[in-house]
Symmetry: C2
Subunit: 313 residues, 2 copies
Amino acid sequence: MDNKIFPSIAIIGVGLLGASIAHAVRAYGGAGEVRLFDHNPDARAMAEKLVPGQMMASASEAVRGAEAVFLCVPVGALGKLTEEISSDLKPGAILTDVGSVKHSVTADMAASCPDTVHLIPGHPIAGTEKSGPASGFADLFAGAWHILTPLKTDTADYKKAIETLSLFWLTLGAKVELMSTERHDRVLAITSHLPHLIAYNIVATAYDMESVEEGEVVKYSAGGFRDFTRIAASDPIMWRDVFLNNKTAVLETLGRFSEDLAALQRAIRWSDGDMLVEEFKRARGIRKAIIEAGIDTDEPDFGRRSLKATNHD
Amino acid sequence: MDNKIFPSIAIIGVGLLGASIAHAVRAYGGAGEVRLFDHNPDARAMAEKLVPGQMMASASEAVRGAEAVFLCVPVGALGKLTEEISSDLKPGAILTDVGSVKHSVTADMAASCPDTVHLIPGHPIAGTEKSGPASGFADLFAGAWHILTPLKTDTADYKKAIETLSLFWLTLGAKVELMSTERHDRVLAITSHLPHLIAYNIVATAYDMESVEEGEVVKYSAGGFRDFTRIAASDPIMWRDVFLNNKTAVLETLGRFSEDLAALQRAIRWSDGDMLVEEFKRARGIRKAIIEAGIDTDEPDFGRRSLKATNHD
């Protein structure tokens, strides 16, 4: 099978995700020519050295002639970027993105996407806490879900475009799922946006305590805290845009979280041990489901081992 | 050097920590005879098969003649257990524990610890989300801090006992630090107790949302959520006891966390992007400090890779 689904693609924004698409295409196919652009000169310079593909002089130049265009920028920038490239998009091309929020940004992109172009927003449930061109790698999408949130358009051409784009992501190793933008944003609010917000918050709280406790927060962070710092190391601009563009679902989910936390707080204050045990046991059930679904390793401590030189080394 | 610091030790409670002490002693020395006991018959049967040492018929029998006694039970059980064994403790012996809370439980143990016995409470900053006799392993303490919170006793004998116990933990690969019980409980409230409470809470919130979102919370948990489920899989009874026995510091720290979270919530509601970016950037600083201190791996995603069979396999 010829796995060059698209003779030419453009990737605008060559951070963790954009760079990983380029690496994955080189490793697994899915496209012929890969054209790159990034508005940040430093990222551009780094990507020229590290990311397989042809660096172009502008976003418009990169998308010209491409059968599929991947916008890999923070979601707050998607509307403006679509406007910038709209007149250069090839009729019949697919325009997609990798943003963590779908509802509001689909409208942002649709506002200036030509009728002749198939807008199919997308979101890979894949990533690491790293960012920038150097952080990309070919296997980022392997085994991960890729959610597409197609418009309500019902034409045969549009359906065909969804199939083609799905095939591209399958080629890169992903599993594809279709979903409405509203549902995507509600589900991701709990599986991704709230956890990141909470992680950022606990790290900020600890940061302030660090001065109170004279450096001992970092020193004893292996007690559980360090896990939160990993996801809190994610790109700040990307996450600002996520929260500002999925406000309704995030605030709703946060409301539930705070209610539940207040109940735990009350149980601690009034020494309601039975309530605590009941809540803590429920948590094991969901961990078990995640392990059984093959979504995380069952190795103790994620398979990490001690890192410091020890007396035994 | 003869590394049998104690001719005979007793380990009461053969879960993750108790079993790991036994394995570590077999691997690295530090003690001659290892006597075990667990009040739970299932744990006892499993430990007889899996954990190196001599299983005794009772806690009292296990501690008889031992130069050091390690109480490895949930902190809520330490007072009662000390009472149970107090008349069988050998004069001059060291009595210690591995509990995650130190202030209240030191008083619980001191209440029935004979004057002839050196009570030196301790806490290894080591563990995994697993529990039970099968979860123990020899390298759990390697490179980890072991905090001792000695009483204010100032006798030469007591000082000597602290040195001997420190040497034991060094032999097992740990780094030893002395601290007051109050300070220990404040520092661990932020580095360990609050993170576990938050993880339990977000998993419980998600558990309720799971029914709302028809199974999609588990399915898309790789977005960040699954990390929280790991520490929320820890032993419920152990953690109930931690929260009930470190109430003051946990509630104080939780108060700070909730204040900070309310500020983030307000910033999202009012679209204060600058405030979000500022907070998120601070988090990177603390992650950097943890990596530089060698306390966590800098590998993306803790070095995990995709787990599901993919198209590439």
